[in-house]
Amino acid sequence: MVETEIVHVENLTKLFGHKAAVDHISFSVPQGEVFGLVGPNGAGKTTTVKMLTTLLPSSGGSASIHGYDIRKHPSQVRRFIGYVPQALSADGDLTGYENLLMFCKLLGISGTERPRRIQEILEMMDLTEAAHRRVKQYSGGMVRRLEVGQAMLMRPSVLLLDEPTVGLDPVARRTVWDLLNSFRQQYPLSILITTHYMDEAEALCDRVAIMNHGHIAALDTPAALRAGTGNPEATMEDAFRFYTGGDYAEEADYRDVKRTRKIARRLG
């Protein structure tokens, strides 16, 4: 069987002034794969995702989703992606049901199809009982599940998750992992995930790209990355240190930290 390439990235670059936030990175994600971009805050993960979701114009190189170039056909690209941004993006003033309903309307899902799709997403995300409560009252894990549900409404080819478990407690993190793992067993959905948690990369990803200073320092399966260090007992943390030479990007600036804290606070 020929692997269908869903995401293709070649020498993708983003400059902010003279500084390269993303510096000539290349990778591809075949259908059904869970691909992880791993690295510290400021490594260029979120910038990469923003370029792939057409939110941020790239400075050089190219990338395509489902064969559509992100610069030339942004509206086509947006038809195939489900995006869950880092910050909590479900609307707290609306109920979970309304969040899904409004997305259906924005996506042009017909009135006859809507109830079926919403109900199925609610069941899949285990939110049926909370459907008519306002999202403000949801726990962090529930909000995340709702957001993944919103992103799944339009049947994307690739789900882009930016730090999906940042600020979640261990139990809620586990629920999100289980959810994503069950997706991939059931559907040939590609998932691109960014995280700075090494255990998360190991638990979820088929292949991992270790990013540092805007570069990809290493790209392989988690097992191969660990083996590559030469130490049979190496953890993903060790592998990360090995490939980055211990030289972490200390670029998590004030804004990043502030944002992470804010998300954590909203998650309670």
Partner: protein, 278 residues
């Protein structure tokens, strides 16, 4: 059960369009705008506090400032009482206040991640600006109700028949679109709430006082007259006063100017809006 939703998940390239049919550009656009407006209205419906707190300001202007100044008789009002003269001006001001702080929602939604998610939807970006601008109009319409109630209470004679009322609604909507888009332009440029609040305050005063909301242009010094004539609020007040007080409306000229300004504002805001997340 769940499998049916996602049964034909990826790879369904051509089918992956909504409902598997090709929608016209216009249909997508209108559906998007309607969606954004509905979203805003639902939020307001869940928490209508803002409608009530916003009602206080025009009430104070009319009841305190208006009652006091109507004793002065220093301002030429064209033969009507000062309260009657200023009521349309206060309606315009109240619409502008609501709309000019609307852009703060952009910053808020950017911080929340809501905006990022919306921009990643397969919809043209003008949809978000137009939808929000119209939503600002809907909020401002609540002020029309407020002014009607106050004018009935303190017996300000205004022409509230159907035709003038429709004219008032159209004027308030288009005025709100202008100031809301202007506000979204500011928000996209300054990017932080603190700076935005400062700027918002800075702009409301000249828009309000360099207009004919409280006094006619004829009493202003020449330089202020020039300012008033390039101020869109002046044309809003012209129309409102025409519909509600004098019954003489220069509709084509005033609406024409407002429509041109609105189109320019919406176009610029559409260009700048996606840059708010950079």
């Amino acid at each position: 059960m769940t499998s049916s939703v996602l049964a034909r998940l990826p790879g369904a390239s051509a089918e992956n369009m909504p409902e598997g049919r090709q929608e016209s550009w216009l249909a997508v656009w209108l559906r998007g705008i309607a969606g954004v407006v509905e979203l805003e209205v639902r939020k307001l419906w869940h928490d209508p506090t803002e409608v009530f707190t916003r009602a206080v300001q025009p009430a104070l202007w009319l009841l305190i400032f208006g009652e006091a100044f109507s004793r002065l008789r220093a301002i030429p009002t064209g033969g009507v009482s000062y309260l009657t003269f200023m009521a349309p001006g206060i309606l315009a001001q109240s619409m502008m206040f609501i709309s000019i702080f609307f852009g703060i929602a952009i910053i808020w939604e950017r911080d929340l991640g809501l905006m990022q998610k919306m921009l990643a939807l397969p919809l043209p970006r003008s949809v978000f600006i137009l939808g929000k601008a119209l939503a600002a109009g809907v909020r401002s319409l609540a002020q029309v109700v407020v002014v009607i109630i106050i004018s009935l209470l303190i017996e300000i004679p205004l022409r509230w028949q159907l035709v003038p009322l429709l004219g008032v609604i159209a004027t308030v909507m288009i005025g709100a679109m202008i100031f809301a888009s202007f506000s979204m332009i500011l928000a996209s440029i300054v990017k932080t709430r603190e700076r935005f609040m400062g700027l918002g305050q800075l702009f409301t005063m000249p828009f309000f006082f360099a207009s004919n909301a409280l006094y006619p242009i004829s009493i202003m010094p020449p330089w202020l007259q020039v300012l008033s004539r390039i101020n869109p609020l002046t044309y809003v007040v012209n129309l409102l006063r025409g519909f509600l007080v004098t019954g003489q409306v220069n509709a084509s000229a005033d609406f024409g100017i407002l429509i041109v300004v609105a189109v320019v504002m919406v176009v610029v805001a559409t260009k700048l809006y996606p840059t708010a997340i950079y």
